[in-house]
């Protein structure tokens, strides 16, 4: 096993403008927000983003003008409504969208995982999703039955960023027993070309290897791992802490105007040198610990 523990800035250094990024998390859990703030700070632009149910990470990137194309199943703010900056980006023509339904996006990640250029679905027959995207959704016939099917192109990303629970210095990442679903994190990890994982906590390898069935991202798939407590803030990390309602509400209020969104990014992404400074800016660990949920059965129990 190879040591892969590094700093956020080192881990993200290879990500240049123009890259395709796959982002983990779903709705308001495990959004890789700390990593996204670092990319915004560095001014990375012209990204193609692939995602599952996208919220904060994608909307902040949109506010920064960093997304030129989005491919996914949803962008919004879950119980907080639509995603204001993403919406502005699409309506203003800055962001091109390719919409996919859930089976379609899953098929795309699975195709990349399986080393295939495509996988078949039959979900989007007759839908405008397919009609507007002949480049990535193609009709073909079942080799056995002749029935009409659709081939969806593999989702290949240059880089994949996931925020996980706990991991070791070799990049093995484990989930707690009581948790929400991983959604697509294992799927996009297995599909990744270059995988960067941030975790709440680095634990000794001895703890990881005692219960290898809890490893959902094997270190073998990982290029770099970074310890970032509260790395999903202001979103939640299930089993660790809840979403920050006050912060999210403030974000959405400022995001009513493009100018307001810029003041938010200036304050929380561009003017802070790193994640520690961000933590200090939002009130320090003491403030964040107020979001903690009861520790039930963690990997590191």
């Amino acid at each position: 096993m190879k040591e892969k523990l590094t700093t956020l800035e080192e881990a993200l250094a290879p990500i240049a403008s123009g890259s395709t990024l796959a982002l983990g998390g779903s709705l308001l859990r495990r959004q890789p927000n700390a990593a996204i703030r670092s990319l915004i700070r560095r001014g990375v632009k012209d990204l193609t983003v692939q995602s599952w149910a996208a919220t904060t990470a994608t909307d902040m990137l949109a506010a920064a003008g960093a997304i030129s194309r989005f491919e996914g199943i949803y962008t919004g703010m879950f119980s907080y409504g639509l995603a204001p900056n993403f919406r502005r980006g699409v309506e203003g023509g800055a962001i091109a969208v390719r919409d996919f339904s859930e089976t379609a996006m899953v098929a795309r990640f699975r195709a990349a995982t399986q080393g295939l250029a495509f996988l078949p679905i039959k979900t989007l027959l007759g839908s405008d999703i397919a009609r507007h995207n002949p480049e990535q959704i193609r009709p073909f016939s079942c080799p056995f039955t002749g029935e009409p099917l659709q081939a969806v192109a593999a989702a290949k990303a240059d880089f994949t960023i996931i925020h996980g629970y706990v991991g070791d210095k070799y990049g093995n990442v484990q989930w707690p027993i009581v948790r929400d679903s991983d959604d697509i994190d294992q799927m996009i990890a297995s599909a990744a070309t270059r995988l960067i994982v941030t975790v709440e906590k680095i634990v000794p390898h001895e703890e990881i290897k005692r219960r290898p069935t809890l490893t959902y991202i094997p270190g073998n798939w990982v290029e770099a791992i970074v310890e970032l407590p509260y790395g999903a803030h202001p979103a939640a990390c299930d089993g660790h802490y809840d979403e920050d309602d006050a912060h999210l509400t403030g974000y959405l209020e400022r995001s009513r105007t493009p100018e307001g969104a810029q003041t938010y990014l200036d304050e929380y992404a561009r003017s802070v040198p790193d994640h520690d400074a961000y933590v200090a800016k939002v009130g320090g660990l003491a403030a964040l610990e107020a979001l903690d949920v009861p520790n039930r059965e963690q990997t590191h129990a």
Binding site: V97, T103, I121
Partner: protein, 279 residues
């Protein structure tokens, strides 16, 4: 038209039913024993009531009355315990919510959709047209939209694979349009057998439940058809709230009112704090 607000201090059993309660009871009667129902995620306010509140209350009501083994897949939870619904929508409420299963991978749910393991699903939308096609993606030109909406989620799957989709929306001229701007979910497409000709299974949306009336689809033409009017609502009121004229059935009954037992269960057992049917 009844209001949704009820006075909780009054004797709950004697209050007349709200529209939400009428709709919920009507949906509950559509749920059969053994049904597995897909409930999506909602946003807040009225959208939450339509997408989540009414469906969960209806399935729970059916469970308690005539469909004890009916169940739901909500979020990532398969058969969550509907007898103890979370009091809020914060992440930890989902994490803690007890269920039969929480599959690690969202692909498990997608595969269940694709292999037609669901019986019923609930859908809300920004636009629905005469043939039950839905739009939750964009208003206006797709490439240059007037309003960008959330995307697609699994709503295309619902209409492609679930035998009995139930649409829950409020009646509104901007929602009930002649043709949706973008077909996210293929309903009866252009009517007749056009859905099957596109390669989809027979099926498609079965019911459209609104705050004024309930619709189904006419066999053959597959056009939306008025099925019942909620108490106190006239057909003219309904037509005024639609951009197309639905098919009229030979008989146009009133939507049945909830029974005393149904009302009592909704108000005192299922949703005593008015979380699910708040607005």
């Amino acid at each position: 038209m009844p209001e949704n607000k009820i006075d909780l201090a009054a004797d709950v059993a004697t209050m007349s039913p709200t529209t939400n309660e009428i709709v919920t009871a009507a949906i509950a009667r559509e749920i059969r024993d053994g049904d597995l129902a897909f409930v999506g995620v909602g946003t807040n306010g009225r959208a939450f009531t339509l997408a989540v509140g009414i469906p969960l209350t209806a399935v729970r009501l059916a469970q308690m009355l005539h469909a004890p083994s009916a169940s739901v897949y909500w979020g990532n939870l398969l058969e969550p315990d509907l007898s103890s619904m979370p009091a809020d929508l914060k992440q930890d409420s989902f994490t803690r919510w007890q269920a039969a299963a929480c599959p690690s991978d969202t692909g498990v749910k997608c595969d269940m959709l694709a292999r037609r393991a669901f019986d019923v699903c609930f859908d809300s939308a920004a636009q629905i047209d005469r043939f039950g096609n839905l739009n939750i993606t964009a208003i206006g030109d797709y490439r240059n939209p007037k309003v960008r909406l959330v995307g697609c989620l699994a709503q295309p799957e619902h209409f492609a694979f679930v035998p009995r989709p139930i649409v829950v929306v409020d009646l509104d001229r901007r929602v009930f349009v002649e043709a949706v701007d973008f077909i996210t979910s293929v309903g009866h497409l252009r009517g007749g057998r056009s859905r099957e000709e596109a390669g989809l299974s027979s099926g498609g949306p079965q019911l459209v439940v609104t705050d004024k009336a309930i619709f189904d689809f006419e066999p053959g033409s597959r056009q939306m058809r008025l099925r019942s009017l909620h108490p106190g609502v006239t057909a003219e009121e309904v037509f005024d709230l639609m951009s197309f004229r639905p098919v009229l059935p030979e008989q146009l009954p009133a939507t049945p009112l909830p029974s005393m037992q149904e009302l009592d269960l909704i108000r005192r057992v299922i949703d005593p704090n008015r979380v699910l049917l708040r607005v």
